[in-house]
């Protein structure tokens, strides 16, 4: 993916660029708001990673300017301000995701990939299949090897989120935000317990495991290890 990183802290920028580069993304880095805004307008990017506080032009201003010009490139906001209000402000200004500093590189990667994959105009699929798993998003039914599996509505939402991001790592925080709409750190392994229950119903007893744990980060739904 083509990624524009607008971040004034050189070390964070180097760390992020290296991490994203290692998994095959092409990263353009701009260290101040004005240059970043010009660059974003000049070229096409799959994702823009935008620091909230920048010299010259504030991150939210850049975002609002971009959106005002009709640019719909997915934007991930990075911020040292970890607060629900801040988060809401960022998303309201047109941000697609919000990550507070300090963050784990894996978390950033997962979120960037989820954003880049997001179809910008394509219609929502009604049926997604991975191996012998078949999820009818509209009818809310799940089949494995043609056999129907009953899930609670929450379990379905977890699976729905995982399968929409099939092949990409989904972090616990992403699950928390997208499945429960909670933006806090529950400080327990409760997410793992939910995923474990889901696995028990639709994964554990099948020959091919589809939901895999990514150590220290989260989960990924895919066919092969």
């Amino acid at each position: 993916m083509q990624i524009l990183l607008i971040e004034d802290d050189a070390r964070v920028a180097a760390h992020v660029s290296k991490g994203l580069g290692e998994v095959g993304h092409i990263v353009e880095h701009k260290a101040d708001g004005r240059a970043g805004l010009l660059q974003a307008a000049a070229e096409y990017y799959d994702v823009i990673i935008l620091d909230r506080m920048l010299p010259h032009v504030d991150g939210l201003t850049i975002l609002q300017t971009l959106r005002a010009t009709g640019d719909a490139t997915p934007v991930l906001i990075l911020s040292a301000l970890n607060d629900v209000d801040e988060r809401v402000r960022g998303l309201r200004a047109g941000g697609d995701d919000y990550l507070s500093k300090p963050f784990a590189l894996a978390e950033l990667l997962a979120r960037v990939e989820a954003l880049g994959r997001r179809p910008q105009t394509a219609p929502e699929p009604t049926r997604i299949t991975v191996a012998d798993l078949e999820v009818d998003v509209v009818g809310r039914t799940v089949k494995r090897g043609g056999q129907r599996i009953e899930l609670t509505s929450r379990e379905f939402r977890i699976l729905d989120y995982l399968i929409r991001n099939a092949g990409r790592v989904v972090t616990r925080a992403m699950l928390l935000e997208n499945v429960w709409d909670y933006s806090f750190d529950p400080q327990t392994n409760i997410i793992d317990q939910h995923v474990s229950r889901l696995r028990q119903k639709m994964d554990r007893d099948y020959p091919v495991q589809l939901i895999h744990t990514v150590r220290g980060t989260g989960y990924v739904l895919r066919e092969a290890q």
Partner: protein, 451 residues
């Protein structure tokens, strides 16, 4: 000039001035009623008498006038009558005045008319009407007004004395007052300065008279005690923050220095451990900051209508796996659609924290209850567990940051869960209380009914 700068001295001066004015008014009133009015009556009386006597002289002649004057002197009047008649040839025909001044035209004369009766002398003053007739005869008719003059003199003297004494007492009195009050104020401001200088234990000494200043000092002392309490708790907090942050930092530092020399096999393990510690630090730090932010919120801009029933239902659902894992019996009674005013995100986390605690501290097989119900004028959230509970003397303490009770110190936790709940409850201006569930803990969070 310092004296003039003193409020109490200025007040005393103003008081003296007001006293002087009121004295002047009193004396003025007295003069009007007891001197000026009677004097006016005497004057008109004398004028009438003089006119009648003049009539007698003009129509009936000198003999008749003399007779009338003699008769007037014999009459037993309240005010002693005085008169003198001088014939046109300058001869004094009749008089009872000891003397009289030269004639200066018709008008009033005040003539001293002291009488010597035996060995005694009685003072008299005659208010006298003096006139001449066309033929050159002169008639003086008067009445004694000595008492009125005496009164006048007395009133003047009294007024002068009162004014002088008001000033004489007012100035030193004011000075004394300002000194006495100033001394009390000085003790208060000395204490304030001591506290400002950093001695928080400073208190204003009381006189024990329970007067205004004592009561003020008492209030100020209470305020100082409260401030000291708050500062001590902040100091204790920063101490414990430092401690709580230092421990993972020290571990992190140890992991990293070990990593420097570690062989390839142990590297990933040490790296993982270091990252975990860093993660723990970030979480702690986030939590501390969030609590501080919430405590700093004054007017809650993010407040709106929140469905407490839905929040509670979601929380139960969220923690369901943990509840099942510990095989806890669950008693959920949530009246649907109980709406309160607040911040949904904060409340969701606070309820989550409470539920998390309840699950964590209840032994496997125990019981947990969550109720949302409307009572008379409030909506209550109850969370009850059958864990060890909190001893009554510890119930206030657990709201403090980084407080881990000895009984449960082995459980994982940051010591920030309940402080977060407390901060949320406070910013919502709601009461949250802990009770004994015998055994276990019963949390009651009371929200006002939205208007």
């Amino acid at each position: 000039m310092r004296l003039l700068g003193s409020l109490s001295f200025r007040l005393a001066l103003i008081y003296a001035f007001l006293f002087a004015i009121s004295t002047a008014l009193t004396v003025g009133g007295y003069y009007l009623l007891n001197i000026r009015n009677p004097m006016g009556k005497v004057r008109s009386g004398v004028q009438v008498e003089a006119a009648m006597l003049a009539g007698t002289y003009v129509t009936e002649g000198q003999e008749a006038l003399v007779r009338e004057l003699q008769e007037r002197q014999r009459s037993d009047a309240e005010r002693k009558p005085f008169h003198a008649f001088i014939a046109p040839d300058g001869k004094t025909i009749i008089h009872n005045l000891p003397g009289w001044p030269e004639y200066h035209g018709a008008g009033w004369q005040m003539i001293e008319a002291d009488l010597y009766v035996g060995s005694g002398e009685s003072d008299h003053f005659s208010l006298t009407w003096d006139r001449k007739f066309n033929d050159g005869a002169r008639l003086l008719v008067g009445r004694d007004v000595e008492d009125l003059l005496e009164r006048q003199e007395f009133a003047g003297e009294a007024a002068a004395w009162m004014l002088v004494s008001a000033l004489l007492l007012g100035i030193p009195g004011g000075a004394l007052l300002s000194l006495a009050i100033g001394r009390r104020i000085d003790t208060i401001s000395a204490t304030a300065r001591r506290v400002m200088a950093g001695d928080l234990s400073g208190r204003i000494p009381l006189q024990g008279s329970n007067d205004d200043f004592d009561r003020l000092a008492e209030t100020l002392n209470l305020m100082l005690a409260r401030i000291e309490e708050l500062l001590v708790s902040i100091r204790r907090l920063s101490d414990s923050v430092a401690h709580e942050l230092r421990t993972p930092l020290a571990r992190l530092s140890a992991d990293l220095s070990e990593l420097e020399t570690a062989d390839a096999d142990t590297r990933p393990q040490l790296t993982r451990a270091a990252l975990d510690e860093a993660d723990k630090l970030i979480r702690l730090f986030d939590m501390v900051l969030r609590i501080a932010r919430i405590e700093g919120l004054r007017h809650a801009t993010s407040f709106g209508e929140v469905d407490l029933s839905a929040l509670a239902t979601d929380a139960i659902e969220f923690y369901q796996p943990a509840i099942e894992e510990r095989e806890l019996r669950l008693d959920v009674r949530i009246e649907p659609g109980r709406i309160i005013v607040g911040d949904g995100h904060m409340l969701a986390q606070a309820i989550g924290n409470l539920l998390d605690n309840a699950i964590k501290y209840t032994p496997p097989g125990g019981r947990i209850a969550l109720h949302v119900l409307a009572v008379a004028d409030a909506i209550e959230l109850h969370i009850v567990d059958s864990g060890p509970g909190i001893p009554p003397d510890q119930r206030e303490r657990v709201w403090g940051r980084f407080i881990r009770l000895a009984e449960t110190a082995h459980e994982p936790g940051t010591g920030l869960g309940l402080p977060f709940v407390k901060a949320v409850a406070d910013v919502h201006e709601t009461a949250i209380n802990l009770y004994d569930a015998g055994p276990g803990l019963h949390v009651v969070w009371k929200f006002p009914q939205p208007k």
